[in-house]
């Protein structure tokens, strides 16, 4: 039982990453009709926003420490950060410690600007082009973005820590009345789950309760009609794209402490998030979220020893297997709408 609860927690956590990326992808699919292969790259750039911001915070000046030596036997150069110099060691240290959550503030404008530039500079020329062309150009863009990150940050993962207070793990079992230490779960993963829930909630309420959101939803249902109403749909599409980029970026920022960011993490997530979107059903936002969590939980269950001993290798293929079964039983995924990207 405790094992199952643990895997459900794991699944929710994985699922929230899938769901956040899939949400952004669906927004773009649904409103703009564009297959965006660069969406994984936006997630990756989000994670590197966290890396960059903490690098900026760590910008430092060099002091030579004569008492110690470096690997070549010369006096050791010690880096001192400006933040600590300006704010004092205690406050400065706290700021450095909270680099990742703070970088949300940095990431939102950066991601929105990246989204705007992408949409205005490139994607908008591809609205009327075949999906194949969209795939080619966004895939090219994904490669370029990824290689730029590799050029500046290298290929190895870059450790990015969560704030000290979230580094430990939390005894979930005790809370639920199990024996102590049976279900412990890292704080930061709980934070990630809650954060995702908030973002998903925010996106949904934004679409539900604002006029902008209503226009966008109407646009998703019937683009021509909304265009006929004389609403400047293009401007809204640009905003939409910026928003989708920001959602992907935020998913990346908060993911950085879970697994050290590397330049190819976007591609790693890309295929899975496409599967999630399609299983959820093209053009359906709730479908994308539902499928994200469903696949996350199933993937976690499939990696349990009890299941692997019956079906060896099932954890390698579970997502794809589930995708096939769902698509064969429900022609348009879980909640897909008719006629979206079916040609």
């Amino acid at each position: 039982m405790d094992a199952i609860i643990l895997q459900i927690l794991n699944g929710l956590d994985k699922g929230s990453a899938y769901a956040l990326i899939a949400l952004g992808l669906t927004l773009i699919f649904g409103t703009l009709g564009v297959v965006n292969f660069a969406h994984g790259a936006l997630f990756m750039i989000g994670a590197f926003c966290a890396v960059t911001f903490s690098k900026i915070l760590h910008s430092s000046y060099t002091v030579i420490d004569e008492t110690k030596t470096d690997f070549l036997g010369n006096p050791l150069k010690v880096d001192m950060t400006y933040v600590e110099k300006w704010f004092g060691n205690a406050a400065g240290g706290t700021i450095l410690d909270w680099a990742v959550p703070l970088s949300i503030l940095f990431a939102i404008p950066v991601m929105i600007i990246i989204g705007f530039v992408m949409e205005r500079g490139l994607i908008k020329h591809f609205y009327t082009r075949p999906h194949a062309d969209q795939i080619l150009v966004t895939f090219g863009l994904a490669i370029v973005l990824q290689e730029l990150i590799k050029y500046f940050y290298g290929a190895n993962p870059i450790p990015t820590g969560a704030p000290e207070m979230f580094r430990g793990s939390f005894d979930f079992g005790a809370l639920l009345g199990f024996d102590a230490n049976t279900i412990i779960y890292p704080y930061w993963r709980l934070v990630y789950f809650v954060f995702s829930a908030v973002i998903i909630g925010a996106v949904f309420s934004f679409l539900r309760f604002t006029t902008f959101g209503m226009v966008v939803r109407a646009g998703m249902a019937d683009r021509e009609t909304v265009g006929l109403l004389g609403i400047n749909i293009n401007k809204r599409f640009t905003l939409m794209f910026g928003m989708a980029a920001a959602v992907a970026g935020l998913a990346g920022v908060m993911y950085a402490p879970i697994n050290s960011p590397n330049y190819h993490m976007g591609m790693d997530f890309l295929v899975l998030s496409f599967v999630v979107v399609v299983v959820g059903g093209m053009g359906s936002l709730p479908g994308a979220v539902l499928a994200g969590f469903l696949l996350g939980i199933l993937e976690s269950f499939a990696s349990m020893n009890e299941i692997k001993s019956i079906l060896p290798g099932i954890d390698q293929i579970i997502i794809y297997l589930v995708a096939i079964i769902i698509l064969l039983t429900r022609p348009r995924g879980l909640m897909g709408r008719k006629g979206v990207m079916e040609e």
Binding site: V35, L122, H125, R129, H131, A132, D133, I135, L136, V137, F139, G140, L141, A142, I143, V144, Q146, E147, L148, Y151, M267, V271, F274, V275, V278, V279, M282, P312, G313, Q316, I317, I319, Y320, L321, A323, I324, L327, L328, P331, R332, G333, M341, E342, E343
Partner: protein, 404 residues
């Protein structure tokens, strides 16, 4: 000629000539010169051009004609490679049985996957094929290792049975794939002044297979069957209400293109008897999609051009290093030389992906019809210059023939 109209005959003739002369055409720079880096006329790369050309031609039969975008075609290439290597291990080093089996096994595999996947269309179809291929890759890399030799890839061993072959003269070394005595690795090198040209048996075997495949694809494009496939892409609804069953047509196209992929896989294993699991990964499937779109989907020659383009960058640009850059720019003053090296550095060697990504974006943005359209534009430019200003007919003739 051969049941083709004049235009197609000319195209086939040009392709044949290019294939025969490839060792010359691809080695335009003298060996040892600074530009020799850009020579592509060595057996491995020439074979790869041709093999991926076949793969892309096959993919185009599905994607270019019917519009069904398969994101799992590499699985058939992989299955073909594994079949071929197993034939080398068990039966004989002759490539005929190996390639035959590759094509057949890939065909059966495609029939199964196609039968299931073609129940859906559009992106749902793409994801189904992707899912099947990724399952194949993941399993081949891990639990199916006894059949696939997982991470390393399936390779030949000294103690393989090879029941049809006589015991090799030299028991300590592995035999080479061959075609009735001609070994694929045999190469004849011709030196002509500063130039050096390589004529490889393997390449010419591949080239002959390419020409046959190209010819068959051409016939298929021009056949009533090909017309039906284009009809599927154009309007499936009308097709159904015209008494035509689109499913078997699409399935036949899927199986044929799967067999092309299997053929490419079998040839790849014949040129270099190793079958790695990575050639089934989604990135490999994505690569053939890119080749086809880049070259020009739905055109006959486009996919081959796209395949050559991508493989050229992969194999040539990845091998340029700073050392070579310094040689190129050595004629410049030191300071400028260093600046030039610094500017070019990110785009070569480990940066070849970056160059490729930028080129993808440029080509698709400015040449919506792919490289073929680039060719057409250049051709039109020439024609216009020749015919002068009086003849404006050419410039207005921008409607592309659908299946050219």
């Amino acid at each position: 000629m051969l049941g083709l109209n004049k235009k197609d005959s000319v195209l086939l003739l040009v392709v044949t000539l290019l294939a025969i002369c490839a060792p010359f055409i691809l080695n335009p720079f003298p060996t040892g010169s600074a530009m020799a880096q850009f020579n592509a006329g060595y057996p491995d790369l020439m074979q790869r051009f041709v093999i991926f050309g076949i793969f892309a031609i096959g993919f185009n039969i599905l994607f270019g004609l019917t519009g069904y975008l398969s994101f799992g075609h590499a699985a058939f290439l992989g299955v073909g490679s594994y079949s071929a290597v197993w034939m080398f291990k068990l039966l004989s080093m002759n490539i005929i049985p190996a390639i035959t089996l590759s094509v057949l096994v890939a065909g059966v595999f495609a029939l199964l996957i196609g039968y299931v996947s073609l129940r859906r269309s559009g992106i749902y179809f793409a994801i189904l094929t992707l899912a099947f291929a990724q399952m194949s890759f993941n399993l081949a890399y891990s639990v199916l290792t006894p059949i696939t030799n997982g991470e390393t890839g399936l390779q030949l061993a000294l103690d393989d049975p090879r029941i049809l072959d006589a015991a090799p003269a030299n028991a300590g070394s592995l035999p080479y794939p061959s075609l009735f005595g001609f070994e694929m690795s045999d190469t004849y090198i011709m030196s002509a002044g500063a130039w050096q040209f390589q004529f490889s048996v393997g390449y010419y075997v591949c080239a002959i297979v390419l020409l046959v495949s190209f010819y068959l694809a051409m016939r298929l494009f021009r056949s009533p069957f090909g017309m039906m496939l284009r009809a599927i892409k154009s309007n499936q609804q009308r097709m159904n209400y015209t008494g035509l069953n689109a499913r078997p047509y699409a399935l036949a196209a899927f199986v044929i293109s799967g067999m092309y992929a299997g053929l490419a896989g079998g040839l790849m294993a014949s040129m270099d008897p190793l079958a790695g699991a990575e050639r089934m990964q989604w990135t490999a499937s994505g690569e053939v999609v890119l080749m086809t779109i880049l070259g020009g989907a739905g055109t006959l020659i486009g996919p081959v051009l796209g395949a050559g383009f991508i493989k050229y960058f992969e194999n040539i640009f990845s091998k340029i290093n700073d050392n070579i850059l310094h040689q190129w720019f050595a004629f410049m003053p030191d300071g400028i030389e260093d600046i030039m090296v610094t500017i070019v550095h990110p785009f070569i060697g480990k940066g070849w992906h970056l160059t490729l990504g930028i080129l993808f974006m440029l080509v698709v943005t400015f040449l919506p019809g792919g490289l073929v359209e680039g060719g057409q534009r250049i051709g039109r430019l020439f024609r216009r210059r020749k015919t002068g200003r009086n003849d404006n007919a050419d410039s207005t003739d921008s409607t592309k023939k659908p299946a050219e």
